[in-house]
């Protein structure tokens, strides 16, 4: 990161000449003054809630009743032994793997398709990207109508959301439509940072199209692919809007994701904020582990 702009005390001493340490502490004070709004935001809306969720996770904390004293480790054991806990974990993982694999393969294909800049490719890029301007909730509402038996323009009596299997795939289709352009864009940035002479060298060595892709493009694209994988896995593990709107967790609770379970524990029926807080801390911990593993795995193979 360029540091040339940082006001080093020695540089400013040339401009005006009070003592070095006085100048330095004045710079530090000014710096803190500018950082104060960020610091306030972070402390009030991030650090304090993290502390509070920790306290809630060990307390018997009702939605309306408030704090009713210590309740650990019951909050955690109750959350894990919830009837829907393991089905939700299993479904979330299944959904994450499906979405990530399909999205990344498709996004890579699209990126390769439109990587040369031309007018036509510009139009294509924009068409693939437009869905990602929509909110996830708006896109889900759109597909809710698209999938409905009454309004659907798709001929035949297909039940898009009626069985666990079709509900899962219908949601995956929605997510692929909404995010393919977004990941295509990220991969396109990666593709364009590969210098042209690398391809030239591969061509001179007599590499075919597939060999070039396999041994030149893919390895050099690894950082971008790693970023996409991490974003996609994290986003899918925390899926909520699409299932809340499209399936409401149905049919028969077959599409309840882990975040939906947290929401239901806290605000629907159980009204148990303590247990929901405990579950959300478990999710936070799991997410950290998954991301550390991903960082290690994807970074380690970079060279």
């Amino acid at each position: 990161m360029p540091r040339s702009l940082t006001l080093s005390p020695s540089k400013t001493a040339v401009v005006s000449s009070p003592s070095r340490s006085a100048r330095r502490s004045r710079t530090a004070l000014t710096g803190w003054a500018y950082a104060a709004p960020t610091a306030l935001f972070v402390v009030i809306f991030f650090v304090a809630p993290i502390g509070l969720v920790g306290r809630m996770s060990v307390s018997d904390w009702g939605l309306f009743a408030g704090n009713r004293g210590w309740n650990a480790p019951e909050n955690f054991t109750d959350a894990v032994s919830d009837r829907l806990f393991w089905p939700a974990v299993w479904f979330t993982v299944k959904y994450t793997v499906l979405t990530t694999v399909i999205l990344l393969v498709l996004a890579l294909g699209l990126a390769l398709l439109v990587q040369e800049s031309s007018r036509w490719n510009g139009i294509l890029r924009t068409s693939f990207l437009v869905p990602s301007a929509l909110g996830l909730a708006s896109a889900s509402l759109l597909f809710y109508a698209l999938y409905s038996p009454q309004a659907s323009p798709i001929p035949g009596q297909i039940s898009f959301l009626g069985t666990p299997w079709s509900a899962l795939w219908s949601t995956v289709a929605l997510i692929v439509w909404r995010f393919a352009g977004f990941y295509m864009l990220l991969l396109l940035v990666g593709l364009q940072s590969i210098p042209g002479d690398v391809y030239e060298a591969a061509r001179l060595d007599g590499a075919g199209r597939w060999q070039t892709f396999r041994h030149v493009t893919l390895p050099l694209l690894r950082p971008s692919l790693a970023l996409c994988t991490i974003l996609c896995v994290t986003g899918s593990l925390l899926a909520f809007d699409q299932f809340y709107i499209l399936t409401k967790g149905g049919p028969d609770n077959s599409t309840v994701t882990i975040v939906q379970l947290i929401y239901n524990m806290a605000f629907q029926g159980q009204n148990n904020l303590g247990r929901a807080a405990a579950l959300s801390i478990l999710v936070l911990a799991a997410l950290l582990v998954v991301n550390i593993v991903q960082f290690r795995g994807l970074r380690g193979r970079e060279r």
Binding site: A35, V42, S127, L136
Partner: protein, 272 residues
């Protein structure tokens, strides 16, 4: 000519693919004004579905107002915090600088749900429960990692001589920020503002948890609620109309500011 002919199959294939991506949007726009049994628009083309939407509960004007108020406040709060914060991180050395920057980025690592449960309690004790301002403050906090990072690299990209010249000319640091740095970092500002607007306009789970007063919900929640409430039968026509109203500002902003949108991702992709 022969090159053009050779390329035609590819054009057909890729064009077809583009149409698949555009189809749902085109369909929703057409279906919202097309005649269809079971909706308010039963014969002939027209805007009856939009009329239903306009008079749903508090009326669409109220929900649009909520959404615009939340989005504008989020943009303002985010810009204010990220411009001052980005300036501090880019230009000044102070104790705790790196710790605060990393802490701001750490917001990205924590799931929304983990933060929303304590925030629900916390906003109550701050007297901000059920308020658009409280919601906008929370949404701004979610925007801070990207916004602060973006403004920091935008300010760091401003040539050093420019800022030093301003300081020697006797500008205070605030004047230097206003006169020199903000104009120079304008593309970064637009990107941050655009992302904050889109995120606030589209967010669903945050108002779902934090807003319980049905007159104060933003448009996405109102349209989602509308589905089940017309005598238990889903009014798909009104839903389609709602989707169009929701999507229109996003698509207009996206098409008008596409370059800034792409830039935002590029900085993330290159530095992330």
């Amino acid at each position: 000519m022969s090159r053009l002919l050779l390329r035609t199959p590819q054009h057909v294939l890729t064009g077809g693919l583009a149409l698949i991506f555009l189809f749902p949007l085109v369909w929703a726009s057409l279906a919202s004004v097309a005649p269809h049994a079971g909706t308010q628009q039963t014969d002939g083309w027209g805007f009856a579905n939009y009329d239903t939407l306009a008079h749903y509960q508090a009326g669409i004007a109220q929900y649009l107002f909520n959404s615009f108020a939340i989005s504008l406040m989020t943009v303002l709060f985010t810009l204010f915090a990220s411009v001052t914060g980005g300036y501090a991180f880019a230009m000044f050395r102070f104790p705790g600088r790196n710790a605060l920057f990393l802490l701001t980025l750490a917001i990205l690592m924590v799931p929304y749900a983990t933060l929303l449960i304590p925030l629900y309690v916390l906003l109550n004790s701050l007297g901000l429960q059920n308020s658009l301002i409280g919601l906008a403050l929370v949404l701004s906090m979610f925007q801070l990692p990207f916004a602060t990072f973006m403004m920091r690299i935008s300010f760091e990209a401003v040539p050093g001589e420019l800022r030093e010249a301003a300081l020697i000319d006797g500008c205070g640091s605030l004047r230097a920020l206003q006169r020199v740095l903000i104009p120079a970092a304008k593309p970064g500002l637009i990107t941050v503002g655009l992302f904050a607007f889109l995120a606030a306009w589209n967010d669903f789970i945050t108002p779902l948890v934090l807003i319980s007063d049905s007159d104060k919900v933003p448009l996405p929640l109102a349209v989602a609620n509308l589905r089940g409430q017309v005598m238990g039968i889903v009014d798909y026509g009104a839903t389609e109309a709602g989707v169009v109203v929701l999507a229109l500002p996003c698509i207009v902003f996206f098409l008008a500011l596409q370059r800034h949108y792409v830039r935002g991702f590029m900085s993330g992709a290159l530095k992330g």
